[in-house]
């Protein structure tokens, strides 16, 4: 049938009625005594009950993830295998998260005594759950000329709480061998470059050693679409946080993603081809260079668990909590250019839709919670370190003919090592999918005027290290097994 009226899938349209903004009365539904101050998805709360409710939601998301085997009985004492890292951007969500962690797990508790973690205690509620708590901040101003460095603002906020260790980083550290070695990475033998003008992403030794900052500039400016810049910065930030967590013996990395931002990032993930990683966008286990298997979960120092304890708390609730608790939000506004990117478009769309269809945000998160990857992962992506389906190029070549010759790799001689086979769909797309407009790159480089010639782009340290390791293991068997090799020895 024609699609003028489209898909015959229309009968659910009527399922999203508009309703009055709150149910029945203006009194708080919890204490039933005070006049309400806030409406949270039709339920009315007074200020006191709202703060209590928010704390409960926070603990209900976080606590079942603290013990190594998740979803265990909640009554058990909380014994994480390692320390805690709080990812702090200075934005609204992480500002609220920082405050909630401090109130719930630090200011109200005594320092954790040394000794065997597994010893049961009489009253563990009085002791700190994690022995050490670090707050990591990744400054991205290096990516955008003219953006103010906010490290000092952030430091001020973090240091206004006691009990946190502040760990500032910069996004260009991803290209800095000193950072890489400081988190325990094996040195990379020579800098590697990738040719982003070729869909196979051919690798070659990179000639010019440059500073981490100019390497970041080259990397970002060679991305084929402006929307690739924010997603790249997110990936770099995520990996910086993960490696830092691992090197500080942290078993948990908590992010300030609230329900609203989670739904936005889920849709944005889908729009970038990352459907295979929907589960990881909610919660993920990361283990250096390999797919996490069940046996890893009980072992100390093996995996880092990324948790989003605000995932059931909407942006409005965060806003109200921050306002009423007088929290200072120092983080940068949206990144330059981000509103035109897929993430920014999605954000505007979802927040606008939520106004007319108030259950949109929670429906998205709930729906995605019911989805599972269709295949067993073929490995993990060398760049973002998330489980990957593999066969990315094969899928893309099947869907769209890019060459008239019948050979699958027209311009590539088999001897050239290439990055493409080791990337997930989303990372491959980020590195190769062109915008219809020429990206007005945030940074200027000495690149020519859009002539499609070979452009050599240095890769992040962990990618280089992985390839070096693969090279050492000899590129036997066309590197087929490398994705599953444990380099944790």
């Amino acid at each position: 049938m024609s699609t003028n009226c489209g898909n015959p899938i229309t009968e659910t349209d009527a399922m999203m009625p508009r309703r009055c903004k709150f149910d029945r009365s203006k009194m708080c539904i919890k204490c039933k005594e005070n006049r309400g101050n806030i409406v949270v998805r039709h339920a009315v709360y007074c200020k006191v009950c709202f703060v209590l409710m928010l704390n409960q939601k926070f603990k209900r998301s976080l606590e079942p993830t603290i013990n190594p085997v998740p979803d265990g009985p909640r009554k058990k004492s909380l014994s994480p295998l390692g320390n805690l890292v709080i990812a702090f951007s200075g934005g609204l969500g992480s500002t609220v998260l920082l405050d909630l962690v401090h109130r719930g797990y630090i200011s109200s508790r005594k320092p954790r005594q040394d000794g065997d973690i597994s010893t049961s205690r009489k009253d563990p509620k009085n002791e700190m759950v994690w022995k050490e708590v670090r707050v990591c901040y990744v400054e991205v101003c290096g990516a955008f000329p003219g953006m103010r460095d906010r490290t000092d603002d952030v430091r001020r906020v973090v240091e206004s709480y006691d009990g946190f260790e502040f760990v500032p980083m910069r996004v260009e550290d991803a290209f800095d061998e000193r950072w890489w070695e400081s988190v325990g990475g094996r040195p990379v033998e020579g800098q590697l470059g990738v040719d982003v003008m070729n869909e196979d992403l051919i690798l070659s030794p990179s000639s010019n050693p440059t500073s981490p900052l100019s390497t970041l500039h080259i990397y970002l400016s060679s991305l084929p679409a402006p929307t690739a810049i924010p997603s790249t910065l997110q990936t770099l930030t995520r990996l910086l946080l993960l490696h830092t967590s691992r090197s500080t013996n942290s078993s948990h990395l908590v992010l300030g993603t609230c329900l609203t931002s989670l739904s936005i990032s889920l849709i944005s993930l889908v729009a970038q081809g990352g459907g295979f990683n929907i589960k990881e966008e909610v919660q993920e286990e990361w283990c250096l260079g390999k797919v996490v298997v069940k046996e890893d979960k009980g072992k100390e120092g093996r995996t880092v668990r990324i948790v989003r304890p605000l995932k059931d708390i909407g942006m409005k609730e965060c806003e109200m909590y921050a306002w009423w608790s007088d929290l200072e939000v120092v983080g940068q506004e949206t990144w330059p250019g981000a509103p035109q990117g897929i993430g920014g478009i999605t954000k505007d769309f979802i927040i606008g839709l939520e106004k007319d269809y108030p259950s949109t945000v929670s429906t998205i998160a709930r729906t995605c919670g019911k989805l599972a990857p269709k295949d067993v992962p073929a490995g993990i992506c060398i760049l973002c370190n998330r489980p990957s389906q593999g066969q990315v190029k094969a899928w893309k070549d099947r869907i769209s003919i890019r060459s008239l010759s019948s050979s699958p790799l027209p311009s590539t001689s088999p001897a050239q090592p290439s990055l493409a086979p080791y990337l997930c769909y989303m990372c491959h797309t980020t590195l190769t999918s062109k915008s219809s407009k020429k990206p007005n790159s945030a940074v200027s480089t000495e690149k020519g005027d859009g002539v499609e010639s070979k452009v050599e782009v240095p890769v992040p340290q962990w990618v280089g290290a992985r390839i070096t390791a693969m090279g050492r293991e000899v590129m036997k068997d066309e590197l087929k097994e490398f994705l599953l090799v444990d380099e944790d020895d």
Binding site: A228, Q272, T346
Partner: protein, 372 residues
Amino acid sequence: MPRLCALCSAQRPILKRPKTGQQICKTCFFHVFETEVHNTITEAKLFQPGDRVAIGASGGKDSTVLAHVMKMLNDRYNYGLELFLLSIDEGITGYRDDSLETVKQNQKEYDLPLKILSYNELYGWTMDSIVEAVGRKNNCTFCGVFRRQALDRGAAMLGVDHIVTGHNADDVAETVLMNIMRGDIARLGRCTAICTQGEDTIKRSKPFKYTYEKEIVMYAYFKRLTYFSTECIYSPDAYRGHARSFLKLLEAARPSAIIDIIHSGEACEVGEEATKELKERKICKRCGYIASNDLCKACTLLEGLERGMANAGITDRGRKQLEASGPTPDGLRTIPFFQMNTDTPLDSASSTPIPGQTVDARIPAVVHVTAG
């Protein structure tokens, strides 16, 4: 030096492919457009020689190009298919009556048998009369449900067991997004499938699943195909409209977004826990069509219309009200009983009638209205 086609390096490029960003010439465009559809068909093993296949034809761009390409590929690659055009007349004055003229013209151009089945014939209502009764709020619900069933019934009348529709990559991507945003777990699982079977008895396929709407329009333009391009006069599906404009923004940010979304949809499935929540499939007690309650959606909608309770088929509450308001009165207008050929296995990919065997129309073409 003038730019040359990115594929043949010989001719002057005339368009930039939205899907790959490549600038290519007209000859190469026709080649890749048709070959990609052929690849989709062969990869998914959609057809067997001798299959009787109905092309859902509305006169719009997608189905017009589909009819053209299906006929061409059938000849070029010897698929051995017997093709039909199947049109549904929803009864929308000033819209469908005009577009059906286009379909009739296509029939002559492509020399394919055409079957037109109308809502009026099947349900005793036209969309015009439905809109008169229910207003413009939920009319798309009626139209969607009625069309789906009408297509199956039309297919049964033609003795075909496979319908190909003009759903393109944009439609599929949009549906993936909508199903996530509205929490439609049941549909999410199958909306990216090229071929579906199981919801109803007749196979449905989307050979244009990976074909961009923009390229369909370009193809029709360069091939000078006649199509009807007016929007439905009752098309206020606001939610789909939002989803569509969102998709267009994503595509503008990065043209691959459309296939990237489809890839996402293909990469995940409904988890085990959630599958259990899905309703069991039943057979409608009144008309024999696939249903999730005792009555199928179309029968519920129709009964609601007939009894002046239009909400019955739209909300659960409406359905319960209908059930609570007493038994169905005698002599109510109903949909004729639907019976698939029992020789056709329901869930086999090779559910093809043996070539040469005539499959009789399985429901009477004339509808008996039991009450006036």
